[in-house]
């Protein structure tokens, strides 16, 4: 059968299909252009059923975080220097990167002593390679995790502003062990976020700043990993994870875990792929046993895969590292 379709009907078909398709999908509840802002729940372990701080996305506002985790907007605004904001509840996690962009990068590699005086002492740390810390969405994850007492492993290079550290401390959210582990991640930034007023008006960090990727372990030896869970016997309470099969999580988050993987340099890093783990001589079946599901393509970056399936990278990493012969 021969049927012509001319320009005008074609135009109507095109516009109609898009408009009609979108309206229909809205009616069916399929149309979604943003994350629903409901953090996934931890499925196993001590914290099962609680919202997982690891699922905080850049698009989450402080209001969304209050709704999901019960951390008041006022506390978040205070911690990250948004008290003067007209509507601090609307501040998004991704906004932190912009706010703290220059500050974190400008930090020298020195370490703040546990007894935090506003003017932190400068004690150059030896051999660890300088690594700029970044205050962004992951800093917010870490803050929320510490505030609500849920274990969380921050990404490499994550820092939190000194103001956030103080808010945690003032609210009694930091045990001495947690405090010790968090200190190397504390970044002193500009006036608006550092209530101590020790920063000059220009907002630039002073050399007496407070970051270092080196975390002293229980034995007093510096660690190369900036992750608090690397602090071995100190038991920081910021480790562990949420959704792995029982027994595979490293650390309970109570400050007494003492994971065996913590005294050596992490074998699995942010860019490590499953292929590299297989190259150790580990079998696919072993990996899948840890993951609790089929392993993706070998070239997949483990960290990205964890993010996409909702698993806590730190937990998967620790469990996989234990497989190394």
């Amino acid at each position: 059968m021969r049927t012509y379709l001319r320009s005008t009907p074609l135009g109507i078909v095109i516009v109609g299909l898009f408009a009609g398709g979108i309206l229909l999908s809205q009616a069916l509840g399929w149309w979604s252009t943003e994350s629903k802002k409901v953090a996934r729940k931890i499925t196993t372990g001590e914290f099962a059923g609680k919202a997982d701080p690891a699922d905080i996305r850049g698009s989450y506002s402080f209001q969304d975080i209050e709704k999901n985790f019960g951390v008041p907007v006022k506390i978040l605004a205070q911690a990250f220097g948004f008290e003067q904001e007209k509507d601090p509840g609307a501040v998004r996690a991704k906004g932190l990167e912009t706010k703290f962009a220059g500050a974190a990068e400008s930090q020298p590699q020195t370490q703040l002593q546990p007894q935090t005086q506003p003017q932190a002492q400068s004690q150059p740390q030896a051999p660890a390679a300088p690594q700029p810390l970044e205050i962004g969405t992951d800093a917010l994850r870490l803050f929320v995790a510490l505030y609500v007492g849920i274990p969380y492993s921050p990404k490499e290079g994550t820092g939190i502003p000194e103001s956030a550290f103080r808010v945690l401390k003032e609210n009694g959210k930091l045990s001495p062990e947690k405090e010790k582990a968090i200190l190397p991640l504390v970044v002193k930034v500009g006036k608006d976020t550092a209530p101590s007023g020790t920063i000059p008006a220009g907002g630039k960090a002073e050399p007496s700043a407070s970051i270092s990727p080196s975390v002293p372990s229980a034995g007093g030896q510096p660690e190369k990993s900036p992750s608090p869970q690397s602090s071995g016997g100190t038991g920081t309470g910021v480790t562990s994870g949420s959704a792995l099969p029982a027994g595979s999580a490293a650390g309970s988050g109570t400050g007494s875990s003492g994971s065996s993987t913590s005294t050596t340099e992490p074998l699995i890093k942010g860019k490590t792929t499953f292929k590299e783990v297989l190259a150790w001589g580990v079998t696919k079946a072993q990996i899948e046993k840890v993951l609790g599901r089929p392993m993706p393509a070998e070239g997949t970056i483990i960290k990205d895969w964890c993010a996409s399936v909702g698993l806590e990278f730190g937990t998967v990493r620790d469990a996989l590292q234990k497989l190394k012969p």
Binding site: R2, S25, T33, G299
Partner: protein, 295 residues
């Protein structure tokens, strides 16, 4: 001539409407960070309203059940609509909807004024033919890296993303560079990104082989004036085709009897085939020897 003008204006009107809509949505998305909203316009991220986001998410969706970061369900819906449309009428999405294609065309109008008949003929056909397959390489690469990394890797290279986000400061230099090349290239070549690099255009182009409504030329009424060839932005030789099955056709309708073709019912978007008139009913010399319908 008035009718032909209406065809061109109708398409341009729809193209510009989609261009403005996408630009406003993207701008609104940026403004929403400051608590400002343009009324009656959504504020979705560009990734959420790009059907190609749905395509690159398919592997992850089927294997893991989740979408690639930053891609949302709306992308899958738009992908479904675009697939329905492409099966029905071919890649009309490219010719009538895609805002990047529209911008390329608008810049091309300047190029056409500058270079006149030389415009869109700078690349020798012998090279051009092979360059047209580059976009399939891009398609394979994008799908592969997205499947393995589970990230929107193409966003770092995507001129479409750059076009509607250049003011945000979030666009990587690579994407800005490719956008700049595309815009400059459009002064010399019609739709350069679509022809040589667009992975979504590559995918949709494959449906030209199976689409229901096809551009067809009626050899029995064709006067071989080649007006259709000159009108085609994708340099397809409509004048030697029966049904146009070229993978680059974007169903823009510029070659049809409504637009460029001077003979009624000779180049049409249609189902079925033309009735081939007996050769004696057509003026001598109007039909090139050796042409057959449907070839």
């Amino acid at each position: 001539m008035a009718k032909k003008s209406i065809t061109a204006r109708l398409r341009l009107g729809i193209q510009i409407a989609f261009l403005i809509l996408v630009a406003l949505i993207s701008l609104n998305h940026s403004l929403s960070s400051y608590g400002i909203q343009i009324p009656l316009v959504g504020s979705a991220s560009l990734h959420a309203i790009c059907p190609f986001g749905g395509v690159v998410s398919v592997y992850q969706f089927l294997t893991i059940g989740s979408l690639v970061q930053k891609v949302h369900e709306a992308s899958l819906v738009l992908m479904g609509i675009a697939f329905f449309l492409v099966i029905l009428v071919g890649p009309a999405f490219c010719g009538w909807v895609c805002p990047l294609g529209t911008v390329e065309e608008l810049i091309g109008r300047i190029g056409r004024r500058i270079f006149k008949k030389k415009y869109n003929t700078f690349i020798p056909p012998a090279i051009d033919t092979y360059l047209r397959y580059l976009r399939y390489g891009v398609l394979v690469w994008v799908v592969y890296v997205t499947a393995t990394s589970m990230k929107l890797v193409f966003a770092d290279y995507d001129p479409y993303y750059a076009l509607f986000n250049f003011w945000t400061g979030e666009v990587p230099l690579t994407a800005m560079g490719i956008l700049t090349l595309t815009l400059i290239g459009s002064l010399f070549i019609e739709r350069p990104f679509c022809k040589y690099a667009c992975p979504y255009g590559a995918l949709l182009g494959l449906f030209n082989k199976v689409r229901i409504f096809t551009i067809r030329r009626n050899p029995s009424t064709c006067i071989n004036c080649k007006a259709c060839d000159r009108a085609c932005p994708m340099n397809i030789q409509v004048s030697i085709a029966g049904p146009v099955r070229d993978h680059q056709c974007i169903t823009c309708m510029q070659c049809t009897s409504e637009a460029a073709c001077p003979v009624q019912e000779t180049v049409e978007l249609m189902t079925g085939a033309f009735q081939v008139k007996p050769i004696e009913n057509v003026s001598a010399g109007n039909i090139p020897a050796g042409k057959e319908a449907g070839k």
